[in-house]
């Protein structure tokens, strides 16, 4: 491999990490701002960085919308005292935050986020690694994230984290099934391709080609399972701060907690990205699809459109969080096994028949 090529690859990867990390940090800010707006509060509006915050008018506006808040939040994690309980299993206790964080960061390698025209004149995805089994890779790696939570809960060697870890693992198993089942009709719809780029290209024509129009039930089940997978309210069984103190991360503080925290938000962003790719037409605008121009302008536009779709979904995640209370544990189990799983199986069978019929008619 040439050196320049290698450097280019590393630069791309670092850039992607920087963007996703930045987005996670600002997702925390968005969460706080959305919560504040729903509760009639202004939200974080005081943090200032000396030079930028002192600018005449812009500095004031930036401070009011809390642009500098993520910096303060991040620094807080670094500079806080690092509590280290004596009763923990040190190795696994330290391993857990990393295990929670790394899968969330790994899945982004195969996530396409835009389109460009390559030298051969074909549409190609903007992606770090265009795997043919992209969606399978994402499902496999992202479900590893639960090991971080279970490990953290177990290694903490105290009651509340332990309960949180157990709940998280039970919930994850229950909803992973429904999620996979809801995904199968989508994959069948696009001719069995597991490549995320192909799936998005299949929805390119116009808004009524989006999978969510043809398969609303799959989209719904996938979305609910996504909420459960990312441990977001109303499914935040692992944390349930009202009955488990802070769940699996009760014993964690400072930067170790920060890793869990950023991992959770990275998970939400990646999850929203996958939902956008599968069901919301990826980087294609809802109307005027032909208007996506050739060349770099088209690429930039596609990335922006993808970004705003993901942003909308992330907002939806937060909106739900500040609307719904948490399900009780048995309700979560019941919903997963008695409602979503049968529904997903019925959905799968129905679409298998429909797709076979369409194939028959077309022949």
């Amino acid at each position: 491999m040439e050196l320049t090529h290698f450097i280019w690859l590393v630069t791309k990867a670092l850039l992607m990490i920087a963007v996703v990390m930045g987005c996670s940090a600002y997702a925390v800010l968005l969460e706080r701002k959305v919560a504040a707006a729903i509760q009639w509060r202004p939200g974080p509006n005081r943090t200032q960085i000396p030079i930028f915050g002192g600018l005449p008018i812009i500095g004031r506006i930036l401070t009011r919308i809390g642009i500098f808040q993520p910096v303060a939040d991040g620094l807080k994690f670094v500079f806080k005292e690092e509590p280290f309980p004596k009763h923990v299993n040190t190795f696994y206790f330290l391993l857990a935050p990393m295990v929670a964080f790394i899968p969330a960061m790994t899945t982004m390698t195969v996530m396409p986020f835009g389109v460009y025209t390559n030298e051969a004149g074909e549409a190609a995805p903007l992606v770090l690694a265009n795997l043919d089994i992209g969606i399978l890779f994402i499902l496999a790696v992202s479900s590893l994230g639960v090991y971080g939570i279970v490990l953290g809960g177990w290694a903490s060697n105290s009651k509340f984290p332990f309960l949180g870890g157990i709940r998280a693992s039970a919930q994850m198993i229950s909803y992973e099934l429904a999620m996979g089942m809801a995904l199968l009709p989508v994959l069948m719809w696009f001719g069995g391709s597991l490549n995320l780029f192909d799936i998005v290209q299949g929805q390119s024509a116009h808004m009524f080609k989006w999978t969510i129009i043809y398969q609303p039930l799959s989209a719904f089940i996938f979305l609910v399972a996504l909420f459960a997978e990312t441990n977001r309210l109303p499914f935040d069984m692992a944390e349930s701060e009202t009955d488990l103190v802070a769940g699996f991360n009760t014993e964690y503080g400072a930067f170790k907690f920060g890793l869990f925290f950023v991992g959770e938000y990275a998970h939400i962003i990646i999850g929203s990205g996958v939902f956008t790719l599968l069901f919301l037409g990826g980087w294609y605008p809802p109307f005027f699809t032909d208007a996506l121009p050739e060349g770099w302008i088209g690429s930039v536009l596609s990335v922006l459109i993808f970004f705003f779709k993901v942003l909308g979904l992330v907002f939806f995640f937060m909106w739900i969080r500040w609307t719904l209370p948490r399900f009780r544990y048995d309700q979560v189990m019941k919903l997963g096994w008695e409602r979503l799983l049968p529904l997903a199986i019925a959905n799968l069978v129905a679409y298998a028949i429909i797709i076979a019929l369409i194939a028959q008619i077309q022949n």
Binding site: A36, I38, W40, R41, W319, I320, W322, T323, L324
Partner: protein, 179 residues
């Protein structure tokens, strides 16, 4: 007593899916999100102080600049947490306020003990001690928060009333009709 049995209907199918409730809930939160914030951003914005508010107790002077307190010590005795300490004293013969006879030599209010009950203001026959609108007090040491006479007059200022009780009394005495 009539007993009314409330009928508990089983949930309908739509209710059991939770979905209509979730959607209406989302509507409520969205409606609230669009409302303006009600937060009072404290150090910059101050709350409206209602009439009759009981803040920091202070001493006041009358509009001639005479200190109104005559060190009768009623406030000291009525003060429930014993926050007030008065050292009574006389007034110098050469002073033009000599006819008032007494004034506090030292007047201390321990703001760490004060409970802002307002009894001192109520009991004062001279209307010399008044609770102000000020509600935010701080200091770096306990000693700093024991307010001395000078500080209390600084905070209190002048009460622009026109009773001049003692001057009228002096005028009456001069005219020969004492009491």
């Amino acid at each position: 007593m009539a007993i009314k049995v409330v009928e508990r209907k089983p949930l309908s199918l739509a209710e059991r899916t939770y979905l209509p409730q979730i959607i209406s809930g989302l509507g409520i939160t969205m409606k609230n999100m669009l409302k303006p914030a009600v937060t009072l951003e404290y150090p910059e914005e101050r709350p409206d102080i209602p009439v009759g508010y009981r803040g920091v107790p202070t001493l006041v002077k009358d509009s001639n600049g005479r200190e109104k307190c005559v060190s009768c010590q009623l406030c000291e005795f009525v003060c429930p947490p014993k926050a007030i300490r008065i050292t009574p004293g006389g007034i110098d013969e050469s002073s033009e306020d000599a006819h008032v006879e007494k004034a506090p030599q030292e007047f201390e209010i321990n703001m760490l003990r004060c409970i802002y009950c307002g009894y001192c203001q109520e009991v004062c026959p001279e209307e010399a001690i008044w609770l102000q609108n000020m509600f935010s007090l701080n200091g770096l040491s306990r000693e700093e928060l024991i307010f001395k006479k000078k500080k209390l007059y600084e905070l209190g200022g002048t009460l622009p009333d026109n009773h001049f009780k003692w001057d009228k009394k002096q005028d009456a005495e001069k005219a020969g009709n004492a009491h």
